[in-house]
Symmetry: C2
Subunit: 557 residues, 2 copies
């Protein structure tokens, strides 16, 4: 027989961000973008935002921005950031979202590394640029959003956003885009070495956006009102700006107002149906609710991710507000949606928390496997632990201008650096970051699982587990906890007894540190690198607590 | 600045039917495929169907089927047809679904034109092959599903489906697929000339499937149970076999049992949540309900398409069962999902029927415009009528081995042959098929709209409008109607009075024919070509009815 490919008759209509932009404007022109501002919220329709985006594209074109040029943003979540999300890729340029929580030297590095030509920056964030003025040598234009104070001289030509757009026609310039072109780029906030750049193409953003609209993923529809708390400078805020726009959902953008009390105001004013936040913020909202009741009943779901969500927290949210927590597993390298903890359809109410506390099952289009150190696939039996590896249409295959080792296996799967299991129904459980797992007496202790157990102890508000060197067992876990009531005195022996009922006895820590605050990374995760530095420099108040019976053999099961 | 494309870092993970197949098996292994059979329904899990598909792929490989080979099916909707949907594209071959309602000469034409090498056929449909035995010369293998009678000698080697698969391993052969390869093909049932072949690629099926899962399109999820009435041999049954599989929804497959009474049984046994059917069948179900109550309350929606759904029918379904009708506009050339009549989010209950009776708004990814005879875009004001033209990732750009005129405009849009309007919110209204519209006194009369008005008349069960030549007005409409009660005597003058309240007076027909039956095409639409032939050969009982006041000027408004 023929044994030769047989090609389709389908047209080559590229899948682009411009199509997303036009669809939202055309079909959902009356949907709203609400930006929280101290003087009163700014409410714009999709039609108005699209016009703003078109004017921005015209203005950038006038400044000389063309196909392939990088336009950076250093902005909070607001309407004008969204205009850049739509305008920059639609004109064939590349949107580079700068993480405003990067250390100045990292910020300087990524601006230089991406060769950003234009930088759109919030007036209140200009101060972040002063220390990196040298890195701005290649930036030709600085566009300042908001504010009316003096703009410090930073080398580049400086423009006010509103003034720059004022004379422009609200019509997008016609550009014939290829779907393989870069549309947006993000740098990972790696804990070692320089940040690494991931460049999304038009096609991968388009397909990721469609996947996020599926009923059993985020299921975003025109009736949604999305409170967008994940920063638009981090992994495209779960891709939600594009998903909301394509689906016609309202976007509620908090600007820099991200404290629990700010969120209370936004929830009361706009009754959002959907939001996403890191577990820390969920904890803050629960604390706020204890002070004065907070009504979150308008939410159909709270997506949480960034770090593992403890079952206790999922239970508390359900019991407090009746809202399900949907855990998302993803990363800058995966656009970022990879897996979601949607329970299977035959899950019983009793099993609900179990399923929701997993990293979840791959969303349609993503493939996940576990592999050993030679990258050979391991059994998916729910018990075997291996490194999680990924493949799919919106997964990166490498990093921009990166000379280090490829993140791909020889057979084309992305190594995630996460250790986990996959069960027979395809659900992923993250055991630990490869670099955070604790090796004790030849066995693994999952810092993630131990942290979840610690959070179930009475009085514990936050917990992190890192390793301490141990002459006998190689490593032992150190539990670092923050108390709900800072003035309380913890009964660690009682906690240890309680832990024994939850985890293998060799997991129960002898080393404890009670702290007032846990260091956080730029995206709100507990910063274990900082914690380890504190440990090494003696800045953690470590107590050693042993019960009589484990005097002999702490690490034996 | 650079003005050069900047490429993404994303991996090249092709989007394929094999990924859909694997995802459904892996994540939704317990979802069910139910096939209606006289002796008792056959229930299989996705895991079992996937194993069947893998065995089929192994067996076809053993018969010599390789990359690019066409494997045809001549089957009703059932488990084994679904196995072919999964197996054939996943092995790099091309699934060619034969429309069992084609005329024998068309069937012979498409088998030869596609160069089908293997033909999978239902035992009860073997009789369709006898008249086309000559066309089977290129078919090397005939695989017969079901039945146990003699198989007539048709030239090809003959196999029984079960026996062919019996010894095979339930493991898919590894094939490195490219997403641009053909995966499936369908021939349009064009009313003129030979049928024309559309070849879908892996990528277009994949993206179309994702789009069909979006909450505001079909919104298929794991909790759905889909009663699959649209034939799998026609435009991939709205793509629902793939959508259900990717989402983990149960599929209820009726086999050849498509009468209203069969559907009653399936609905009672399986309580489907989702179905799709042509308007004619909705009418049949309403008639059945009048005889003996039918409970369709398990349905969250009835998708209807194929021909325009009259507002009266949408109202009747809502009033009878409380189920919304979602009108779908699509065609073989568009995979087929193009637009859906989802009301906008701010629609009032009073407006609901208005929005649902439109062809709808383009689904995310589809672009629709109206153009004049020179293919120049026309205003989208809800009034201007033009030919509807399409662009999008799952729209065909031509036909397989077709030497006629390209269906694309010079700027790359597909001409649909439908006349319509687009309103300022992007909603499409189909005015008529270009070839069905009636030109009367220099004005257009929409056969579609006039048929909808006729269906509101008391006692009218079905209606079709075609043109009759008129010496004075060029063309006048002829109303062909079937009565609910065949023994009744219609009061046409009263109907004409009633019509005057619904449509412009020059639309009101003077020519009427009351018939016992309307001719239908292979996909259940009224066959206007056959009606015109009946008109021309004097086989329609045409009465001319004029009220006194229009004796002078029937076509003046």
């Amino acid at each position: 027989m023929t044994q030769a490919p047989f090609f389709s008759t389908m047209m080559h209509a590229p899948m682009t961000v411009a199509m997303i932009a036009r669809h939202g404007m055309r079909i959902h022109s009356r949907s709203r973008v609400i930006t929280c501002r101290p003087g009163g919220d700014e409410v714009a329709t999709f039609a108005e935002v699209y016009q703003g985006a078109a004017r921005l594209a015209q203005a950038l074109g006038r400044l000389g921005v063309g196909v392939g040029d990088r336009v950076a943003t250093l902005c909070w979540n607001h309407r004008w950031h969204l205009e850049a999300y739509l305008a920059v890729p639609s004109m064939g340029a590349v949107l580079h979202t700068l993480n405003l929580r990067l250390h100045p030297e990292q910020l300087a590095y990524v601006i230089r590394h991406a060769e950003d030509r234009v930088l759109i920056v919030d007036a209140e964030l200009l101060s972040l640029l002063a220390p990196v003025a040298e890195a701005l040598a290649g930036v030709e234009h600085l566009v300042v959003v908001g504010g009316d104070g003096e703009v410090p001289a930073l080398g580049a030509a400086t423009h006010r956003y509103e003034a720059l757009l004022a004379g422009e026609q609200p019509v997008f310039p016609e550009v014939a885009l290829a779907e393989t072109w870069g549309a947006a780029m993000c740098y990972t906030t790696g804990t070692t070495g320089h940040p690494k750049g991931v460049v999304y193409s038009h096609k991968t953003i388009f397909v990721h956006t469609l996947a996020s609209m599926a009923r059993d993923t985020f299921g975003i529809g025109q009736d949604d009102r999305i409170l967008l708390l994940p920063p638009m400078f981090h992994a495209n805020a779960w891709g939600l700006p594009y998903t909301a726009w394509f689906a016609g959902a309202d976007l509620i953008l908090p600007g820099p107002h991200l404290k629990a009390t700010d969120i209370r105001g936004l929830v009361e004013r706009y009754r959002p149906t959907f939001t996403a936040m890191v577990p820390t913020l969920i904890n803050d909202l629960l604390a706020l609710h204890r002070e004065s009741p907070l009504d979150l009943s308008s939410l159909r779901v709270i997506v949480s991710g960034g770090s593992a969500v403890a079952p206790a927290l999922i239970e508390r949210v359900r019991d407090t507000w009746g809202v399900p927590v949907l855990q998302g597993w993803g990363m800058t390298e995966t656009s970022p949606l990879c897996a979601l903890s949607v329970p299977p359809r035959d899950a019983t109410p009793e099993e609900e928390i179990h399923w929701r506390s997993l990293a979840g099952r791959p969303v349609p289009g993503m493939q996940v496997r576990i592999a050993d150190e030679a990258d050979l696939p391991l059994p998916e039996d729910g018990r075997t632990v291996g490194q999680l590896q990924l493949r799919g249409p919106w997964v990166t295959g490498g990093y921009y201008r990166h000379e280090g080792e490829s993140p791909l296996t020889a057979d084309g799967w992305l190594r995630t650096g996460d250790l986990g299991t996959i069960d027979e129904r395809g659900y992923v459980r993250i055991v630990d970051r490869l670099k955070d797992v604790i090796k004790s007496g030849g066995e693994w202790i999952s810092s993630v699982d131990l942290e979840a157990a610690l959070l179930r102890l009475p009085g514990v508000a936050e917990a992190a587990v890192i390793a301490v060197p141990d002459p006998r067992w190689e490593e032992r876990p150190l539990a670092v906890v923050r108390l709900e009531d800072p003035s309380a005195t913890p009964d660690i022996p009682a906690w240890r007894e309680a832990l024994r009922k939850q985890v293998a006895s060799f997991w129960v820590p002898e080393y404890w540190a009670v702290v007032d605050d846990l260091p956080k990374t730029s995206v709100g995760k507990v910063d274990k690198k900082a914690l380890r530095a504190m440990r090494d420099s003696g800045r953690l108040p470590i107590a050693e607590v042993r019960n009589r019976r484990d005097a002999d053999a702490p690490a034996r099961r």
